[in-house]
Structures are given as structure tokens and as C-alpha cells.
């Protein structure tokens, strides 16, 4: 199990922003010509890589950088008949962003090879720039030094957000001020999360105490919170050996007895639907961890929220960069309680 996954998160983010946010390193990893050539962007990855690419889908959609960006799992991309969506034809010359954090995934290698075969351009986002298949990628964006998987995920979210802003800036959708403001938003939000995290920690500890001996979890989220759901289920599976189901609030029916990790952004159009689901499911007396920037009055009396600061309007991608923190902390506590049991 894991020890401390994230120490001094604002400082870590600052370091990664300095390395990746519209830097020469990023410009070299994705030249202007490629930003213009691509008529479509396809985002793919496995497990934690999938979580990271999920975080920027909304950014690519909302900023109108490309027509219809496609988020697709690596298995579907490689083996699920996606070739026609990538190859020559309309929309052609796609930019395929493959995120493989440790650089050892054979599926990621296959994605890059297939992209090359059908005439697309691949960008590999990884911690391991010396991965044996990295030379097959057209471009590689290295995430720099990270200590563990939580840091790798956060670095990848920063990198992918920077890629979206880099493409938007090159193509004219974003101004220099927009890019600067986005970076400031990340820094400011990091500080505001840091200031409220003490209050969240107690609730996370309580949830971990209730659930450390459980083997199954339900994870639910909508929209831009889905990246957090993906990463949470990956963490619980990889480090807790737990089975996790993942659902959106509409699909989830709450028939199991598993503890629930629910993530919701107030700006999400499905926030009301999410609240209704949570309130009706509360009667099941299952352990809950609700991570949201909503307010306590939005939910039933007595619901204990991991209440994050309100997301600034237009920057809901920040959810992917911060709302996973309670789950990371929960994993640390679960590990601690399990050791105590032993």
C-alpha cells in the first residue's frame, strides 16, 4: 500500500507549471505546424493515463480548438475498430495524444504504431521519455521528475492542460492573457484548497476508518469530474486491491453495499440530478465520501461533504487537478488502518 503520496501539493504544482506550462519544452514537443495540421484530436490512455486524458476532454470541447475531440479507451482505439476514425478521409490528419505514465504499456506502443500506419501524428505524454517504444512516437512530452503515481497523474493533467492551451494559443483561440490567467487560476486554486484541506482531512479519515476492510467501492461522477472518478478507481484497485465500479450519476443505481465515492462539480449541468441520486441513496446507510464544490445546504441534513473551494467559472478542468486529493488521502489512511489491523 501507499505511504504519503502528495506532500506540499502547491509547491509540486508550481514546479510542474514551470516545467510544462507553455515552455520551450512544450513548444518543442508540439510545434506550431502540428497544432495547425491536426484536424481532430484523439485522446487515449490506459488506467491512470485514461484518467489524465479524460481531464482535458472538456477543455478541448469548450474552447472549440478542434471539431469533435474524441476520448477513447486504449483497448477500443487499438482493437475496437477505431481505424476509420483515425485514417485518411474526413476528418484526417488527427493528432493522437497517448498518455502512458510509466512508459511500459504495450497497448500504448500499439496505439502509437497504429497512428503512424494510418497517417496520424502521435504525441506521447509520459514520465518515461526513454520508453522503448518512445522513438516510434512523432513527439514525446516528458513529465519530468515525479515520486509516485499521484504526482505522475497530476503532472500529466498539467501537461495535457498545457497542450490544450498551447494548441489554442497557436491557433488563435486563446490570447497570451488567457494562458497567463489559466496558470494563475491553477496557482490560486491550489492555495485555496490548501487552506481548507485541514477541515476535509477529518472527514476523509472517518471514511477510511469505515471502509478500510472493504473490497469493493462504487465511484460516481459526471462531466469534468469523471477524470477524478477514473483516477480514484485506479488508485483503489492498484493500491488497495479493491474492485471498483465506475458510473455516471444517471446510470448508477446504487444496488450494492459498497462504499461510495461521489465527485461532483457545481457547474456541471447534471449537478441537480447528482444531488437527487445522492439524497435518495443516503437511506442505504452506506459509507459515503462526497467530494464537491457544492454547499452543504445542497444536500440532506447531516451529509458530510469533502467541500472544495468553488471552481472558478470557465475553469472546471481544475476539478481533475484537485478533487482527487481526498481519495489520495483516503488511500493513505486505508493503508495505515490496514497495517494497524495486521
Amino acid at each position: 500500500m501507499v505511504e504519503k503520496l502528495l506532500e506540499n501539493y502547491p509547491a509540486f504544482l508550481e514546479k510542474k507549471l514551470d516545467e510544462l506550462w507553455l515552455t520551450e519544452k512544450l513548444e518543442a514537443a508540439l510545434p506550431v505546424l502540428r497544432c495547425f495540421d491536426a484536424r481532430k484530436v484523439i485522446l487515449t490512455g490506459n488506467s491512470e493515463g485514461m484518467a489524465a486524458v479524460t481531464s482535458v476532454l472538456g477543455l478541448f470541447q469548450e474552447s472549440d480548438i478542434f471539431w469533435g475531440p474524441l476520448l477513447v479507451s486504449q483497448a477500443k482505439y487499438n482493437y475496437g475498430g477505431c481505424r476509420h476514425e483515425v485514417g485518411i478521409g474526413e476528418p484526417n490528419t488527427p493528432l493522437v495524444i497517448v498518455t502512458d505514465l510509466d512508459g511500459n504499456d504495450e497497448d500504448a506502443a500499439d496505439s502509437i504504431r497504429m497512428t503512424s500506419e494510418v497517417g496520424g501524428v502521435s504525441l506521447l505524454v509520459t514520465v518515461n521519455e526513454h520508453a522503448k517504444y518512445a522513438s516510434d512516437a512523432d513527439y514525446v512530452l516528458s513529465l519530468g521528475e515525479v515520486s509516485n503515481i499521484a504526482e505522475a497523474y497530476s503532472a500529466a493533467v498539467i501537461a495535457l492542460t498545457a497542450v490544450a492551451y498551447r494548441i489554442g494559443r497557436a491557433r488563435g483561440q486563446y490570447t497570451e492573457a488567457d494562458c497567463r490567467r489559466a496558470r494563475e487560476m491553477i496557482q490560486d486554486y491550489a492555495l485555496s484548497v490548501d487552506s481548507v484541506y485541514g477541515a476535509i482531512d477529518g472527514k476523509v479519515q472517518l471514511f477510511a476508518r469505515e471502509t478500510y476492510d472493504k473490497e469493493t467501492f462504487d465511484c460516481i461522477a459526471d462531466g469534468s469530474a469523471k477524470a477524478v472518478m477514473e483516477f480514484s478507481s485506479f488508485l483503489l484497485t492498484r493500491y488497495g486491491g479493491c474492485l471498483c465500479t465506475r458510473n455516471d450519476s444517471d446510470e448508477w443505481c446504487g444496488q450494492m453495499e459498497a462504499p461510495v465515492i461521489a465527485v461532483a462539480c457545481k457547474v456541471s449541468p447534471s449537478y441537480d440530478c447528482f444531488r437527487e441520486k445522492i439524497m435518495s441513496a443516503q437511506s442505504q446507510k452506506r459509507p459515503w465520501m462526497i467530494i464537491t464544490d457544492g454547499e452543504e445546504k445542497d444536500f440532506n441534513e447531516g451529509v458530510k461533504l469533502c467541500q472544495m473551494p468553488a471552481l472558478p467559472k470557465g475553469y472546471d478542468f481544475l476539478c481533475a487537478l484537485f478533487f482527487h486529493l481526498p481519495v489520495v488521502t483516503a488511500c493513505e489512511y486505508i493503508a495505515e488502518f490496514r497495517r494497524g489491523r495486521q
Binding site: V32, L33, A170, G172, T175, E176, A177
Partner: protein, 278 residues
């Protein structure tokens, strides 16, 4: 006196007329005779001293600079093609201006206003104005000009320096017009006409501008913004410090017109030279 101004631009490309801000700063300084240096601390905007009475003409200027320097994907600078093109346009228009202050007013013509150009906005632009009291000797050289003429004014400037009686210092030359420029050029009419022709090829004289005072006038405004209307030249022991094949030229982008060049001669009070070699 140094005054700092912050200006928020509102669009990707455009302009803000800053004439009243410049005049206010000069008035605040209390300087009666001297020089004002206006400087922009960014490289994706520009400064101009041009006619703003027809804002259609200002739109022409911004559009024409975009046409001359469109964003292209082959720039070596990889941040953004829009930023890279903005840098070139910024060099075209210049990020720094020096203007003489005479009797408490900037030495500008009635058709000239100070303008801040935005080439990659919206953005916050920072302007610094430095106004310094420095008495000067003043002369006006008058002449008639014709369209696309390059008028060598070197001898007139030499005469003004001689008349000033100063040994060392610098001359500030000003054209108080919005369709004529001033530049240091090579000697020889052929070389000078080549320059004029290149200006005309870059900003062609044509009929599709928004500003329609005459066929020559709108392109003349744009050419003037690129060539500039101010020039500073040092002199030592009463002689202009010019290269053997350099001369000071007035360039007419409209005309025929009666024109003048204002020559302000500033004295170097210290009056000594320091030779350095690199």
C-alpha cells in the same frame, strides 16, 4: 519626470488613442522645453504618431499591417504565429518614440495624435513616459515636396547645427505631418528611389482603403507609421556623426505640398567624448 501608464486593450488587434494621456503627462511634468520619451514595455504592441480624425484610416493601418505581416506557421518562434507576427509588426511601428516638448506642448502637427497599437491582445500594456527639461536651439526648414520624393536635408541640418553654435550634442528632427516620414538613408538618388519603391510595393497605393481622402493619402499614413517622423542624430565638434554614404532624408508619401522639417539642436553640457572600441 517619469510617469507609468497601464492600458487594457480590448481586442486581438486594434489601437488606443493615447494623445490626451501623453499631453497630460507633459503638462504634469512642468517641462517647458525639452524632450519626452515614450516607451512600451512589450513587444507585441506598437506606438504611432498619426492622424486619427478618420478612424476608418486607423482600421486601414491595423489591417494593412496584418496583411503585410500575416501569421504563418513557419516562424522559428514557436509560441504562437499570432505572437510572432505581432513582434514583427511591433518592430515596424516601433515601441519607443521621442518627441520634443516646446513651450509646454509636444512638437506635433495638428493632424498627429499618439496611438498605441495592439497586435496580440486583449492584453495589459504598460507605457512609460519620461519628460526631461533640456533647452534647445530651434530652426524650421521649409520646402515644397512631391509624391514619392526623397528630399535630402543633411545640409540644412548641418547649417542648423552651425547656427546653434553648439560643439557637441544631438539633433532631433521632426516632421509634423501624418503622410511624410524621416529616415537615415544611403546617399544617391537611385538608392533612395529604390527605398521609396519598396515602400510602395509593401503598402500599395490603391483605392480599397476605408479612409478615402485621396488615392495616395491612406497608404501614405501607413508608410509614415513605418518610416517614423522623428530622428535623432549626434554631432561632435560641430559635425554630424554620419557615415560616409549616409544622409538624412525627408520622404514624401502624399504631396505635392508645402512641407517643413523642425530641427531641434540639443547641447551636450559635458562637452567631451569617450572613445571606446569593441
Amino acid at each position: 519626470m517619469i510617469k507609468k501608464l497601464t492600458i487594457e486593450t480590448a481586442s486581438r488587434q486594434g489601437y488606443v488613442v493615447i494623445d490626451s494621456m501623453v499631453r497630460e503627462a507633459i503638462a504634469e511634468s512642468g517641462v517647458q522645453n525639452g524632450i519626452c520619451v515614450i516607451s512600451l514595455d512589450e513587444d507585441a504592441g506598437g506606438l504611432g504618431l498619426t492622424s486619427t480624425w478618420d478612424l476608418g484610416g486607423m482600421d486601414d493601418m491595423v489591417n494593412e499591417l496584418w496583411r503585410c505581416v500575416p501569421p504563418r506557421v513557419t516562424y522559428l518562434h514557436q509560441r504562437s504565429p499570432i505572437a510572432a507576427a505581432a513582434h514583427t509588426r511591433s518592430v515596424f511601428t516601433s515601441c519607443s518614440y521621442s518627441i520634443v516638448v516646446k513651450e509646454g506642448q509636444p512638437l506635433a502637427g495638428h493632424s498627429q495624435s499618439f496611438v498605441l497599437f495592439e497586435f496580440d491582445g486583449p492584453e495589459t500594456r504598460n507605457l512609460t513616459l519620461s519628460v526631461v527639461e533640456a533647452p534647445f536651439y530651434y530652426e524650421v526648414f521649409q520646402f515644397d515636396s512631391y509624391f514619392n520624393e526623397i528630399h535630402d536635408i543633411t545640409d540644412c541640418v548641418r547649417t542648423a547645427v552651425k547656427n546653434s553654435g553648439y560643439k557637441n550634442g544631438f539633433c532631433h528632427l521632426t516632421v509634423v505631418a501624418a503622410t511624410a516620414g524621416i529616415a537615415m538613408c544611403p546617399t544617391g538618388s537611385e538608392r533612395q528611389q529604390d527605398i521609396v519603391e519598396d515602400f510602395d510595393r509593401l503598402i500599395t497605393t490603391r483605392a480599397d482603403f476605408n479612409h478615402r481622402e485621396s488615392a495616395y493619402d491612406p497608404s501614405g499614413h501607413i508608410k509614415t507609421c513605418i518610416s517614423g517622423t522623428q530622428l535623432n542624430v549626434p554631432f561632435e565638434n560641430g559635425g554630424l556623426l554620419l557615415g560616409e554614404e549616409s544622409c538624412l532624408c525627408y520622404a514624401e508619401f502624399d504631396g505635392p505640398r508645402p512641407r517643413d522639417v523642425r530641427i531641434c539642436v540639443f547641447k551636450d553640457e559635458a562637452g567631451h567624448s569617450i572613445q571606446s572600441q569593441t
